[in-house]
């Protein structure tokens, strides 16, 4: 009996061993729409690399971060993954990422602000896959009716326009839509300032600086003056309907909205909306550097094949195909020289803005700090009586608490 059992076990074990010549299988996790679309790009990759097969697994965006961390804790990470670029510092702190070899891609071809989001302590850990920044989408017809022929370039001009729009419209006509449950619009205004958002080697909040308070005051005035409604995005059933109805003239949003606006606005309005770079305190200025990067995990036994996949997906032609399929904007300048992107009037402002993007603070705790910033500001705008100074102090207090562990770690590193 035992002999038979041993034989069966031996046979099963032998069956599991891969005979030589089988392809290397690269596991690739991608999120949401990207995960769906990237499958179409894989056959060409496999044709070019006969020894490698790529298996794509699609994760929903809402669960992706958690799933990746859980996979890290359970040693179940794939070889390659798409990573939101604000998550990158966190995974770098976990030592989960393989550094990018300079030979993989030409870093100088990328928009510098976007490339910087992948660099932690002078080492690049990811390759930007597509970029995402926020700027103005606006109704040119409503703006013209309010007496302005071109979009604003400074905060002052913008305020004048918002005032002119408000003067024309009724009670339900607002100048701008700034959803209170998104921190990106305020973050973009804050990044336009000199002072960084964290200080002392990113171990304490710097939200009490005059610079941040200036951005916060400008943001708050939008609501206090009635330029923007104090609502969050969930309360607005359909942003495109409201935009078409003229409920607001300006909307700070990202590249995915180009496709949505083309699809969902009625044909009669298609000529009446446009994009423009974000106005700054004194002329065109910075916005947030968002987007996704491709990373290879340091525990992967198939790093060479994994980087080949990243290299393939970073090719100019592949990025343009990816852009046509998803509407996501390519991070390489050379891809933007292509006719398809140059002739897209709505993408033009993005090209301009991408030269002026700044990464947010690159600490693993950043996402949480930004979330707390948004919560405090939401309370402030919806009337809890917080003044600008109190709100700034409260954000600092929360940021300092969140960063406590980081201070301890750095202090320990300094005294061996």
């Amino acid at each position: 009996m035992r002999i038979i059992l041993t034989l069966v076990v031996a046979w099963i074990v032998a069956g599991c061993q891969e005979p030589p010549g089988n392809p290397t299988v690269v596991q690739f996790w991608a999120m949401g729409r990207e995960g769906e679309v990237v499958r179409e790009l894989i056959p060409d990759f496999e044709r070019a690399h006969p020894g490698i097969r790529a298996e794509v697994q699609q994760l929903p965006w809402s669960a992706a971060h958690q799933k990746l961390l859980t996979a890290f804790a359970g040693d179940a990470l794939p070889d390659v993954a798409q990573l939101g670029n604000t998550w990158l510092p966190e995974f770098a702190a976990l030592h989960a990422l393989d550094p990018v070899e300079p030979s993989v891609v030409d870093a100088s071809d990328y928009f510098p602000g976007i490339w910087q989001t992948n660099v932690v302590d002078q080492t690049a850990y990811g390759v930007p896959w597509y970029v995402d920044t926020r700027l103005l989408f606006y109704r040119s017809d409503l703006l013209a009716a309010a007496g302005h022929e071109r979009p604003p370039t400074t905060w002052g001009e913008w305020t004048d326009m918002l005032r002119a729009i408000k003067r024309r419209g009724g009670p339900h006509r607002y100048g701008a839509l700034l959803p209170l449950n998104e921190y990106e619009p305020l973050l973009a205004l804050a990044l336009q300032q000199e002072a960084p958002l964290l200080r002392d080697g990113d171990t304490r909040g710097n939200f009490r600086s005059e610079d941040f308070k200036r951005a916060l005051r400008f943001y708050r005035d939008m609501f206090d003056n009635g330029f923007a409604p104090a609502t969050n995005a969930n309360q607005i059933s359909n942003v495109w309907d409201e935009f078409a109805r003229g409920s607001f003239t300006f909307y700070i949003t990202g590249p995915w909205s180009i496709g949505e606006f083309k699809r969902r606005l009625p044909a009669s309005l298609q000529a009446s909306w446009m994009t423009a770079p974000l106005p700054g305190p004194a002329g065109p200025s910075y916005s947030v550097a968002g987007g996704s990067s491709l990373v290879v995990f340091s525990d992967s036994p198939r790093k060479k094949a994994a980087w080949q996949l990243v290299q393939y997906l970073s090719q100019r032609e592949v990025q343009l195909r990816f852009h046509t399929l998803t509407g996501n904007l390519p991070p390489r300048r050379s891809a933007w020289n292509d006719e398809r992107l140059r002739s897209d009037v709505h993408a033009r402002a993005f090209r301009d803005q991408l030269e002026r993007v700044k990464p947010a603070s690159k600490v693993p705790e950043w996402e949480r700090i930004a979330t707390d910033m948004q919560l405090v500001v939401e309370h402030m705008v919806q009337g809890s009586g917080l003044t600008i100074d109190e709100a700034a102090a409260e954000i600092d207090r929360r940021a300092d608490r969140i960063l406590e562990k980081r201070r301890w770690l750095l202090a320990r590193k300094e005294q061996p």
Binding site: H65, Q66, L69, F72, A73, E90, A93, L94, H95, A96, N181, T231, N232, N234, Q235, S237, P364, R368, L375, E378, H379, Q382, K405, W408, L409
Partner: protein, 277 residues
């Protein structure tokens, strides 16, 4: 042995975790783990959001549990009455919410509760009342979630009550009728006293369930607006799995455990007092 491995061990591990600051840095390298003693508990008691979450949870338990018991008892009485018709149909219809997927019905409810196009506001408007921003107004978000949770769960208790009602001997009612008791008196003096043990069971179960409010705010509001629907368990989830502060999250779990334990003991104590008096 199996219970020891699969129940007590994780509980003890969680308890031990609550005295550390286990987070993503510790996940990367166990050398970054600190033993912090009671600091997590001290910090928890100083966190305003914890008190708010506790308040929300108690609000949910305080309003939701009586509502749920009343609704399920009412439904059970109706189904059990001799006047009722199509009993099997109604039994299935009222039990259906319990077995449907929460996420699926939450989507339907989000439409019903919608400010501009929701059926509920449409009804309010036809009564001449102003529409309510159910899920967007911090004051109305909790009532909306209670409404949803009661609707979703009352069928379960209804089945238990129905079984309890059917085990009351018919002779008791006959005797009451001979004594000239009205149907209200029958309910007060026969039905409810006979149901007392079932009511206790149901209230302990429902209370324990309602203290663990999580899925409803998770799918309906994500804790918003203005964190007005954050429950203790939702707070724990965010700390533990969104921000990976596992030590702190374990402390929250233990505080919730102690709270539920005390409340259940209190319920049993009150029930025993009643029995002896």
């Amino acid at each position: 042995m199996v219970i020891a491995v699969f129940f007590f061990l994780p509980v003890l591990a969680g308890f031990a975790l609550s005295f550390t600051d286990f987070d993503i840095y510790a996940l990367a390298d166990l050398g970054n783990l600190r033993f912090v003693g009671l600091a997590n508990y001290v910090e928890l008691l100083q966190t305003p959001l914890f008190w708010k979450a506790l308040g929300n949870t108690l609000y949910f338990v305080g309003v939701g549990v009586p509502l749920s018991i009343a609704a399920s008892l009412g439904a059970a009485l109706l189904l059990n009455s001799r006047l009722a018709r199509f009993r099997p149909f109604f039994r299935v219809a009222l039990f259906a919410p319990v077995v449907t997927t929460l996420v699926a019905v939450a989507i339907v409810w989000r439409y019903l509760l919608h400010t501009k196009s929701g059926l509920i506001n449409y009804g309010l408007e036809s009564l001449g009342l102003a529409p309510i921003d159910w899920l967007g107004d911090p004051h109305w978000a909790m009532p909306a979630i209670i409404l949803f949770a009661v609707w979703k769960n009352f069928g379960y208790n209804m089945i238990i009550f129905l079984a309890g009602l059917q085990s009351i001997p018919e002779e008791l009612y006959e005797a009451a009728r001979i004594d000239g008791a009205s149907s209200w008196q029958q309910l007060r003096h026969v039905t409810l006293p006979s149901l007392a043990p079932v009511v206790l069971l149901v209230s302990v179960l429902t209370m324990a369930g309602y203290f663990q409010l999580f899925a409803e705010p998770y799918v309906m509001t994500q804790g918003g607006p203005l964190q007005s629907t954050v429950s203790v368990l939702y707070f724990m989830y965010e700390e533990g799995f969104k921000w990976w502060n596992l030590g702190f999250a374990s402390a929250i779990a233990f505080v919730l455990f102690v709270l539920m334990f005390v409340v259940t003991m209190l319920q049993l104590y009150v029930a025993r007092l009643r029995e002896t008096s």
